[in-house]
């Protein structure tokens, strides 16, 4: 418990005025769900990702996605080892505890898809061989909104593998004033010390899994997910994976709040971040207004679906 608290304060010192988003990101991190951070440049996406990754003393890699990035740049390649006279696997940057995929939608879908298997099955297949990824394995991706120049929207299958999409908007006035006052371009607040080791991380994860979810809550989650599938404006609703993600993240959130059971409030807090990016509306995909409309639909569903009491 103490560890978790330290983790939280550690991250929050970096990102001012964003305790809610930080909490969610940490919850997803504890639940083992990949995180997608989305917003306009300069709002602290990368800072948050780095802060989380820096807090755990595992291996950390960063992939800068660009339009000419190739899948082998991400997962690794078999190269001919002249000494052994055989092909050996040279692991790519994906083989790490935490992978920061920066600006993921600046690369073409081919490179984006390289992440699919890694994120879903926590393993990588290269040619005929399959290589397991280290545990814990977590991808934190950042992306700019679609409408910005030179972006490729993520395909549905890829989006579904992200457990959480967090949108970091501008900080509030107080936080931003403090931010301006204390920071310079040259000095970034990156000097974080790791507070937990991967072994502790696994322990915490086991604890999170033991957080009680009563049947009423499970039913609530099901009804929310079902509602997204039945909504008249929605082309593709949330997947069962989304439902599992919603449950796990709620558990982690409850754990962060020091409880050993999930309340409807936890589910409601998590639902927007876990479900919004998995709801695909009717009409042209990637339209400007889609993200906001998804938010509105989810808010509507949360109001309409009766919460357990």
């Amino acid at each position: 418990m103490d560890l978790v608290f330290r983790l939280r304060t550690n991250v929050e010192t970096v990102l001012l005025g964003k305790s809610r988003e930080v909490e969610l990101a940490l919850a997803s991190f504890l639940a083992g769900g990949h995180i997608l951070l989305e917003d306009i440049p300069g709002t602290g996406k990368t800072t948050l990702a780095r802060a989380i990754s820096a807090s755990i003393s595992g291996t950390f890699r960063r992939i800068q996605f660009t339009s000419d990035l190739l899948p082998q740049d991400v997962v690794g390649v078999h190269i001919f080892d002249a000494d052994k006279r055989s092909f050996t696997f040279s692991p790519g940057p994906l083989f790490a505890n935490i992978v920061l995929a920066d600006e993921i939608n600046r690369s073409n879908p081919r490179a984006q898809s390289a992440l699919l298997e890694a994120m879903g099955e926590r393993q990588v297949s290269v040619d005929t061989k399959t290589y397991p990824l280290p545990d814990p394995f977590l991808v934190i991706a950042t992306q700019n909104p679609f409408e910005l120049h030179g972006t490729y929207p993520l395909p549905e299958s890829q989006l579904d593998r992200f457990n959480l999409r967090i949108r970091l908007s501008y900080p509030d006035r107080e936080s931003e004033l403090r931010l301006i006052r204390e920071n310079t371009l040259a000095s970034a607040r990156d000097g974080l010390l790791p507070v937990i080791v991967p072994e502790q991380m696994r322990q915490i994860r086991a604890l999170v899994e033991r957080v009680t979810v009563r049947d009423s809550i499970v039913g609530y989650i099901y009804r929310i997910v079902e509602a997204t599938r039945q909504h008249p404006l929605v082309r593709l609703g949330a997947s069962p994976r989304a439902a599992i993600g919603l449950k796990s993240t709620s558990q982690a959130l409850a754990f962060l709040a020091g409880r050993d059971f999930v309340t409807p409030g936890d589910v409601q807090k998590t639902a927007k971040a876990t479900l919004c990016h998995r709801i695909f509306l009717k009409g042209e995909p990637g339209e400007a207004s889609q993200a906001d409309a998804g938010d509105a639909i989810l808010a509507e569903i949360l109001e309409a679906v009766p919460s357990p009491v």
């Binding site: 009680t212 049947d215 039913g219 109001e303 679906v305 009766p306 357990p308």
Partner: protein, 682 residues
Amino acid sequence: MGAERRARIPAILWISLRAHWALGLLPLAFLTEISRPALSLAAAAFAAGAVLDWNESPRRGWHRAASPLLVAVCAAAAGDLLAGSGDLLASVSLLLLGVQSVKFLLPKTHRDGWQLCAFSFLEFLAAAASTTEIQFAGFLFLFLVLSAGAMWALQVEEGAETGGAAAPRARPGFAVLLLLFSAVGGLLLTAALFAVTPRIGLGQFLRRLGNRESITGFSNTISLRDVTSVKVDRRVVARIEFPALAAGVSPPGLYLRGATYARFDGTRWSRARRPLAKVPIAGTHYVLSPPKEVPLSSAEIFLEPMDRPALFVYAGAVSLEGALGEIRTDGQGNYTLAEGSSAVRYRMLFSREESRRGKRSPGPDGSYLALPPGSDRIRELATLVTSQGTSEAERAELARRFFLSGFRYTLTDAASSVEEFLFRKKAGFCEHYAAALTLLLRAAGIPARVAAGYQGGEWSDVGNYLIVRQSDAHAWTEAWIGGRWVTLDATPLLGENSPFFARTGTFGMYIDWSRQRWIKYVVNYSLRMQAEAASGGWLALRRSGARIRRALGMPDGLSGRNIAAFGLALAALFLAWRMRGGGGSLFSGRKGAGDPPLPRPYARLLRRLAAGGRRGSAGTPLETMLRETVAGTPALLPHADRFLSLYHRDRFGPHSLSAAESAEAARLADLLRRGLPRTAGR
């Protein structure tokens, strides 16, 4: 969607819900006088709605018709109040029926279901307000049984509509408790109504409410046309029950006398000029004539409001009983009430034959022998007709028979005077016959007078009473023979050939019956009737008890007291068992699959919050509501925090709370509920 929903409700529940909705119409139809067309419309709307519901017809756009229809219903009800029946209860019932009909036709959610049940209940109450009939108990029983089914159906329906997770409104078993309560409540209510109604004078109140036109009574003078002119009127004047009938007395053959006329000036009859005297009262009875030792019949008369405060009596009336105030009489068979124009009820004892010893009444004076000037031809005729008779009775009979041949009953070309009737036209109606016979008898030396009132009436087999209408108005002759006034009717009995004869249909009979019940048990319900009903009920109870005992072969020694004691002991045992079982299951030990029902303290707090407008939507959890509400009252903040942690642990935590904790949670919930501000506004 709809098909799914119904599929989740068993057909039997579906039907019982519908039956409950329609049940309100039944007591209205059978026990009250609500407009039949409106009732039929509501029934038709119900049937149509039930068919549409069963077929899951979507009925899009029908809602748009609802508002105009409701406006029309309101207008109809208002119109009925102002220009129609003028009865508040009837108009409100019409309004209820209209709104209900509209609801019947539209597609229904569970909320509409609850509302329709409420409508049914209201109609039930309306019927209860207008009846004390024993049939009502049957409706009550039916209502309770169907209520159980309806509640169950609505619970299931509500569950199906909200995906099985609505905040449960009632705990299982709550329906049963509610039923018990309503049964006991209904019993108490009935008892209270029964006990209170006559005392607060509901009848007086209702009488004043009813502004129906009163019926013209018989005035102090009548001409030859007066009685017959009212005969076209089919309005009911009186309804008469005969609790006891002496042998040989048949109700349709009785003459109900309203007035007697002694003086004749050639065209008009007028009453004898006598000073009015108070009718003596002995105990609860008005004594009309000295008691006689002959079989007495009794009649219970419900008189409609009349212009003239005349009291109608049968010939040979002995005594009257009823809340009539002061009765005055001129000693010649005319009885006047102190105040007129209100419906009255009285019970009369009368005898058909006179005992020989009852000769103490003084004989009539000379005015009953007076003839108008210029009646020589009548005297001649009288001598001619009655010369063969040896006694007064024989001569009177001869005079009466004189009219049997040669005279005809007609309404169209009746004679304009008695002379014309007797000697030239020989055609007329009852007044002619009565006047001519009276004059003839007087000419023969027998004191005679004309009496006016009602003869016979229509017997209602439905309620076993006699319906007397204005069309039964009649005039006849009474002659002083053998020391008493004897009824002599010269008018031929026309029966079904009478131009005024009309048979009431079965439906009309039932309507009249309900009206009679209403008048008897509500408008004129009295303490005495109450006592009679109570003693009658007690007797019936004892009789049936004895019958059951005999049927079971039990010895008579097993008294009702023992049985009652046994029943009480059973009830006590049941209560004790419930308290033990109920107390334990009230709050704790509620973990299990699915949504466990919300314990009562939480549910009440939730309702309180929702009532305060905090439940913005179905998705708002209790936590959010409570926090928002408490934000205005910082004093409650620590309590709210403590409560929420307990509540969350209880409802969502891995283990249920300990007894002490659940008690604390309940206490906090109550404390918060009381302390919260009433409305959302801050």
